[in-house]
Symmetry: C2
Subunit: 366 residues, 2 copies
Amino acid sequence: MGAVRPTTPLDRVAGAHDAAVLAVARRGDSVSRADLARALQVTPQAISKILGRLIGRGVMTEAGTIVSGPGKPTTLYRIVPSSRRAIGLHLTRSRVRGVVVDLTGEILERRELEIGRLQPVPELIETLALEARALAEVGSGELLGAGVGMPGPVDWGEGVYRGTAQPDPWRGASIRQLLLEELGLPVLLDHDSRAALVGETWSQPGLLDDAALVLVEDGIGASLCLDGNIVRGAHSHAGEAGHTVVRMDGVPCSCGRHGCAQAEYQAALEAGDEELAARILATIVVNLVRLVDVDRVVLGGRTVYTHHSASMDAIRDALAVGLRAEPWVHVEVMLSTRGTDLIAVGAACEVLEHEYGIPQALVGPG
Amino acid sequence: MGAVRPTTPLDRVAGAHDAAVLAVARRGDSVSRADLARALQVTPQAISKILGRLIGRGVMTEAGTIVSGPGKPTTLYRIVPSSRRAIGLHLTRSRVRGVVVDLTGEILERRELEIGRLQPVPELIETLALEARALAEVGSGELLGAGVGMPGPVDWGEGVYRGTAQPDPWRGASIRQLLLEELGLPVLLDHDSRAALVGETWSQPGLLDDAALVLVEDGIGASLCLDGNIVRGAHSHAGEAGHTVVRMDGVPCSCGRHGCAQAEYQAALEAGDEELAARILATIVVNLVRLVDVDRVVLGGRTVYTHHSASMDAIRDALAVGLRAEPWVHVEVMLSTRGTDLIAVGAACEVLEHEYGIPQALVGPG
DNA sequence: GACGTAACGCAACAGCGTTGGCTTACTCTG
DNA sequence: CAGAGTAAGCCAACGCTGTTGCGTTACGTC
């Protein structure tokens, strides 16, 4: 998959610095050598070398100079968005939504396809490949790969859809491997809510270092970014906030427990009680804040858009109550900026992240 | 605080490797150069250099040789537990419990002191310093510092106890700074449940990379280790699982919300319904598993010991129900091995971790 | 006692960021 | 309108990391 393990740890130092410079460059129009030196905590001379590599790879360029007093004017640098592209596909049971994005995560083209029935796996792969190939026509930069985001238990490491207990024709499908063979491109598979969060963090690096993204589609998901790392969990099953119990002995849920947030939420909506539904969402959010202390909460997903102002108000109210003893804590609640493309864009950004993101730990004890 | 920021990123490579070798060495009796090379993914020759540094610092030594066929026998290496020490203090409103541990986290000596009333801050610092100095008499290795673990909102970065809304004489106390001035040693301050988890991870590195520690003392806390990193959160307030709502519209909690796990738990115990209390604990645990997908749950804390077998059973049952759709997921539930010393040991291990732990990310985009 | 084998050390090497000195390009002063 | 002052940026040497290639050591086997 693209990034081969470097032979030497020195490559990792370089790789991490390259990624860090790109991350800084992504969040502004142009940056100076001095800005970057400050951000990365290295000398300006080192920045010159790093920029030399990045310019050589075509992902950054000079962007004019500015004079800020006596002395040689500062050279500015900026990212070259069109230098790289990635495809993102959002797969659900009824629809495939696809996008191509540039290196900054901006959408170059979007497509949407209704699938009438649950296709068998080989047909599904072909459908995905067709969409991907159509999207690959748009734009000019090097195409890095395709990301797929879908609901349900997904094994990120293996690229396999695990499936649910109900009869499910996609259960166990090696979507990554099959699509890779079909496309001849690197493919990544991830859970929809996690893909969405990667997308949000990619376009605004550093802002969501401790954040939760609550995704309300058919079910409810919540993915976490803690200390800058997306949480995937031991079996890459993290994010099932919908199966978190908020009312013990409440309504039965498909998962076998009672009072799961998702079951209660749907029951409330079916009863027409939108206010209660919003309160349930708010309960999840405050629970998250108490548990992992995120300072930003992003709301997204098809369903939440129709009720978003009520949801946001309920969440803000609940936070005010739950945090009244800690006035120094502020939690910013916001709506996703990507609308219905959220997950497709996020899946594409997972590819960008994989190739140009900051590598995780330098070493582990095996 | 001990570890000064290295001038060059190459120091970080070295530091990370040194820490990784120590982590491997901590989990076994002795290791060979080849074992370490495999674990760290570097060449045996690099291991020789790393071991050279560590032996020079006195934290590792040769530990004989073994012959496993023809050829030169393998040299074994092991950690030198007695080479370093750290003090840990567990502070509550009524008691100070203290330990000295060696480099592997083994207890060399323990002390316990009842404090009759809520002492004002200067007196409290003196009490802590007295305990620390008494503990410092035991053992011989270099004394790295003292860690303090306490319940309630704690600012880990600043070393300040934030305090609750109720009148609280300790509120806002710069415990780290004051104790540092008193002792002339590095001091670390952390939330009790997070300290406990650091302690558990220190003595069995790698085992708890995705784990939760549920601490039941006066309140309920739950700290997380995700992908090998302890979760502290944006304001270092993570871990308040007790203020997670498990029964919307349930009994009122001191925090202002209704149906918080902690309030429900206490209500159940007061009603003599231990089975319900265990179910509440189990609900928190399954919620955690669904949300962040930990594969190990450690139970600890004063209160949980009296009910532990009922609690463990309830948790295992609830997990079996909640995860019945994912038979490939196994969550190991275990009791802390450190008993009532859990938090004091953990606080001491935070000091060891700070000095000899694997550094976090190599770089961040500032 | 000679041979094959496996662990290990030494020395040269590549590549990272750092350091100190020099060049470039601008503003300000007389 | 030169000349001084200033700040940005390049070049070359350097220290440090792990890597590589080759020689040394210490064992079992024939």
